[in-house]
Each structure stands twice: as C-alpha cells, then as structure tokens.
C-alpha cells in the first residue's frame, strides 16, 4: 500500500519543484534554490564569562554556590531564518548540541541568497516527535536524552557536582523534559541579529552565525534555583518548567560572519 505509490509521487514532483525555481520568484518556505549558499550555526557554551570547561572548570552561581559541570547537552530544532520576504526552514531540523563533542557544536544547512534579519529555533523536541516511536540520528535514544519510564525526550541536560548538593556524590543533575500539559518545557527562541550585523548569504557563499549559550542563566530570572534546595530535577513538572523558563534566556548572537 505504501511504498510504490510514494515513490511515484516523489518522481512526479521533482519537475514541479524545478518549475517554480524561476528567477525572481517570491521566496517561500522550504524552497531552497540550487543557487543559494550555506549557513553554518555554531554554539559556544559559556559560564562565568568564560568558555565552558567540562569537569575541570570551577564555577559560581548567583547564590555563591560553587559547582563543576560534567555534562551539558541540549536539543535545538526547527531552525529557521527570517528575511523581509519570507523565511527559510532547515529540513529535518533536529540537533543535539553536546559540550563534550566538538563535532556536536555546529551544523549547517542550505539557504537561499539574500539578507536575513533573525534566527529562530525551538529548544527541545516538538511534542509530535515525542510520541512517534523509535527514531534515529539526533533523536536516537542512544544519545542518552530519552526517558525510558515516561517516554519522551530530555530537552536539556546539565550535570555536575557541588559541595552545596546534599544528595549522593554531591551531584547536580538537571534533566529537563516534559512536552505536554501545563509544565511543558519547549521554548521558541527568536534571536534578532544585532544592528550592524546582518546575515547576507551569497551564491555559493558560506555564512556563519555564532550563538553563545550562557549557563549562568539557568539559576535565575524569573526563578531562583539554588543547588542547596534543588540539586536534582529528573522528571517533568513544575521545577523543570522553572528551570526551562530560566534557560530560555541563555542564547545570544555572539557574531555573524559573512563569506
């Protein structure tokens, strides 16, 4: 029932797509021209004003609690660039940014030539993909970002230790998830490019957007999160939402480089 007719439709539609890539055509979502360029998005993770050093770095939060970080991973999805005339979405847009893996700090995708004013993305995995069964790539449960007992993705993970933590091994463990109901933690982030820094994609060119993810924002505004009170968050619920409300502010555009 499924395969043969789908193959036919796919072949059919290629001529249709080529048909409306005529020059001067209005920019539409997902219609990436062959004459476009590439945008590379990279993340630098910082804390206390410096680059994150896993395990070795020693950090202080706004409540004078000291901590080290052993793990920092988060999902970025539904990446989209907005121009005056429309927007370009990345296809199959799911990425796991992982501070422990240099290859997992950047990704690139094709974009039409033009000038873009802002970047948007979702932190986490959308609710549909939380209920769609076994998936692969960034969404593979092998990435250790999937709850097996209450099936759904861990949208962001911050782990480490702190003398202020009274639980076993002084651990600090924030596994932030929950995709439905009042405590869902999915956030839509819109980053307008700063004045003087516009993204200009040229034909065959490669532009870069460098995003800073600042871990300091996890602890405050709007919610005070003290390690001494909450060293662990490992289920969906009100605490996870509070932490997600905080970290939704962690992204800023550090730089845009047009080549």
């Amino acid at each position: 029932m499924v395969n043969k007719s789908m193959m036919k439709n796919k072949l059919f539609s290629i001529p249709v797509l080529l048909f409306f890539f005529l020059p001067g055509h209005q920019l539409n979502k997902n219609t990436v021209s062959k004459n476009g360029g590439t945008v590379n998005i990279s993340f630098i993770n910082t804390v206390n004003g410096r680059l994150l050093e896993l395990n070795t770095g020693s950090y202080t939060n706004p409540f004078a609690e000291t901590y080290t970080i052993s793990k920092f991973k988060y999902y970025i999805s539904h990446v989209s660039l907005a121009a005056a005339s429309g927007s370009i979405d990345e296809n199959e847009s799911y990425h796991l940014v992982d501070a422990a893996n240099n290859d997992a700090l950047h990704f690139s995708f094709p974009v039409n030539t033009g000038s873009y004013q802002s970047l948007s993305f979702m932190t986490g995995v959308d609710s549909l993909h939380n209920v769609s069964g076994a998936q692969s790539g960034a969404l593979d449960p092998l990435n250790d970002m999937f709850w097996t007992w209450n099936t759904g993705y861990i949208m962001a993970k911050l782990e480490g230790s702190s003398p202020q933590s009274k639980v076993v091994n002084n651990k600090v463990e924030f596994h932030i998830g929950g995709f439905m109901g009042p405590y869902q933690v999915l956030k839509n982030i819109v980053l307008k490019f700063p004045p003087g820094k516009t993204l200009i994609v040229k034909e065959g060119g490669s532009s870069e957007i460098i995003i800073e993810a600042n871990i300091d924002s996890w602890w405050q505004q709007p919610n005070d999160i003290r390690i001494a009170e909450h060293p662990v968050c490992s289920t969906p619920g009100p605490l996870a939402k509070k932490i997600a409300d905080n970290y939704s502010k962690m992204f800023t555009i550090k730089d845009i480089i047009n080549n």
């Binding site: 249709v16 692969s136 593979d140």
Partner: protein
C-alpha cells in the same frame, strides 16, 4: 499556494520513506497485513503505519524477543518474563526476577492485543510500542544492559546483520531498526480465538454455567472490561489499598495529577486464567479472590472509580459461574501458537 502545498507534501512523503528502510538493491521483504478480527474496532492508531509489517521484520523481532544476550549477564531475554504459555506474562510470579535475583517494581503484564493500546505499562508511561523495550532493557533490576552494548552484541553476531538486511534493506544495525523489529513481533500477537470468540462466531456453544457467567459478566464487569478487548485500556482505581512497601501511586507518577493517584491501567481479561497473579503488584493469586475483592474488599479513597461506589452483589453460585465464563477467554491458539514460539 498550491505549489507550496505540493512542495510540503513531497517533503512529508520523503520523510515517511525513510522509516520503512532503504531497499536500494530492490529486494523487498514479504509484506504482511495486520488483520483486525472481524467485528472488532480498528485500533485508533496504526502502529505499523511507519513500521511496515513484514515476515522478515516479524521473525527478526521474534528472534530478538527470545535472545538472552540482550541482558547484561546473558541470562534474561524478553521471553524470560513474558512467557508464551502465560499469555506472555510471568507465570505464577507477583514480581519477576531480573539481574542478580532482583525484583521488578511491578507485575509483568500479559502481551497481546497491544495494537489497540495507546499507552503501555501499568502507569501508562510508555506512549509508543516501539520505545517500550528501552525500559526493561536498561532497567537495573531487569535486563540491566545499555543500548550501546546490546547493539554491539548484535553487530558482532553472525546471523543478525543478514536478518536486518532482509527486514530493512541494509546490514546496518541501529536502535531504531531493532526497536521496530521488536514492535513488529509483539504488535502482531493478537488474541481473538478463545472459546468465547468461537461461541460468538457460532462455532461453539457455552455450557449452561458459562452462559450464566457471561450474563453476569455483562451486567457487572463490562463497563471497565468491555468486549471484545475485555478492557477499555483506561486508568482506574479499583479499590486496593496502597502497597505500603512500594508506595506505588500508579498513573500519578506520570501525570503529576493528584486525580490519578492509585490509578492503574485496566488489564484485559482475555487469558486471565493463565496470567495470575493479579493487579499491579500481583497481590491476588486466585481469580476467586479477585471477585471477592469486588464483593467485600473495596477500599474507599478519593480516586476510587465511581463505578465501584457500590460493591459487587452476586451469589456464590453466580461467582462460580462467572469463573466458568472467564475460563472461556483462554486462547490456546495464541498461547500455544508455534508462530509466536521460539
């Protein structure tokens, strides 16, 4: 705009293609159809929509289901706790044995008619059949393995790469394919051929006692255990006091909603006579005592199901007749089917 619509639909179709494997050399598996028993409701979700059922996928899933190596010490397969002759529950065990003689947290459910379930596990914590195996595979009290180790074992095996190729088109072994194969096996186990089913098809006749028991069942039990599934797959508090040792609040653990305290998934009564002991903690070993609970043992609490506000009122004779009827729900064409056996 029409063009945008076409473009978007092409992308959606492209995405669907990916999940059914990549048969680049053109050798497709033997696709099979999931048959809904005549007169039964169709499942609300098609669990095979993005996991097209094939004979090769089913056989691969079965092999995985019976493979001890999926556990940390090589002693426990899925079948170790899900025994076919017990309708794929653990026979005669309130809790099952995992690694190093540890106990599971809850009673192992029977596995059949899963295609009609939108949530799995006593607390409904599993939202899709494909991701269920992750829980027992990685649970420290059950198979206690890591997903990485399981996949490494499969890749090193002489037989599995070929079986994955036959089912999914290439010898690549990844978690998605392994989980989809398992779902093709477990999702295919249908129980719809008990004596009760034969009676309804006109192929058999109830005895006098069974007939009476059927009437008692319909009058007293069918609101939570409706035909033909003999469950409505909802979450209910059926009047048992909390297990003081486990402090298991059931569905509330998943939803964080106090209204879900002590609610557990209504199990199917099909094959109930071979899947004892009963309830989420296996606290009742005989079906007679389950009926007795509904007659005299219901414990009130804020979330007690409204349907149990009044106790079950039946005579002792009627209780025995009810048990005769429940016996007619045992389906040996499933529990003894060589197709589901190792």
């Amino acid at each position: 705009m029409l063009f945008v619509g076409v473009a978007l639909s092409v992308l959606l179709i492209g995405a669907a293609d990916k999940t059914t494997g990549s048969f680049t050399d053109g050798v497709l598996p033997d696709y099979i159809e999931f048959k809904v028993p005549p007169g039964w409701p169709k499942p609300t979700t098609d669990i095979f929509a993005k996991n097209r059922l094939s004979e090769q996928g089913f056989q691969l899933g079965k092999k995985l289901f019976y493979d001890n190596r999926l556990s940390k010490d090589g002693n426990l397969s899925c079948a170790g706790c899900h025994q076919q002759f017990a309708a794929f529950s653990t026979y005669d065990h309130d809790f099952s044995h995992g690694l190093n003689d540890q106990h599971t947290y809850r009673n192992a459910p029977a596995l059949f008619n899963l295609a009609w379930m939108t949530k799995l596990h006593w607390d409904g914590g599993i939202n899709h059949i494909e991701v269920q195996p992750l829980s027992p595979l990685t649970s420290p009290t059950e198979m206690a393995e890591t997903l990485e180790n399981v996949l490494a074992k499969l890749k090193k095996d002489s037989a599995y790469p070929k079986l994955f190729k036959a089912a999914f088109g290439t010898t690549e072994i990844n978690s998605q394919r392994m989980l989809k194969a398992l779902a093709q096996f477990t999702g295919s186990i249908v129980s719809a051929n008990s004596k009760y089913d034969k009676v309804l098809r006109g192929e058999a006749t109830f005895t006098y006692s069974e007939e009476n028991g059927y009437a008692i069942f319909k009058a007293n039990c069918a609101s939570c255990h409706p035909e033909p599934l003999f469950t409505d797959n909802s979450f209910r508090n059926n009047g048992f006091a909390i297990n003081d040792f486990l402090k298991d609040y059931g569905r509330m653990r998943i939803t964080n909603d106090r209204n879900d305290s002590l609610k557990f998934k209504v199990p199917s009564l099909r094959n109930v006579m071979v899947s004892f002991p009963y309830m989420h903690d296996g606290r009742i070993y005989s079906i007679g005592n389950v009926i007795e609970h509904y007659r005299t043992g219901i414990v009130n609490s804020p979330t007690l199901d409204p349907l149990l506000a009044k106790p079950l009122v039946i005579t002792n004779t009627q209780k025995n007749e009810l048990i005769y009827f429940l016996n007619t729900l045992t389906d040996t064409s499933m529990t003894r089917n060589p197709r589901f056996a190792k």
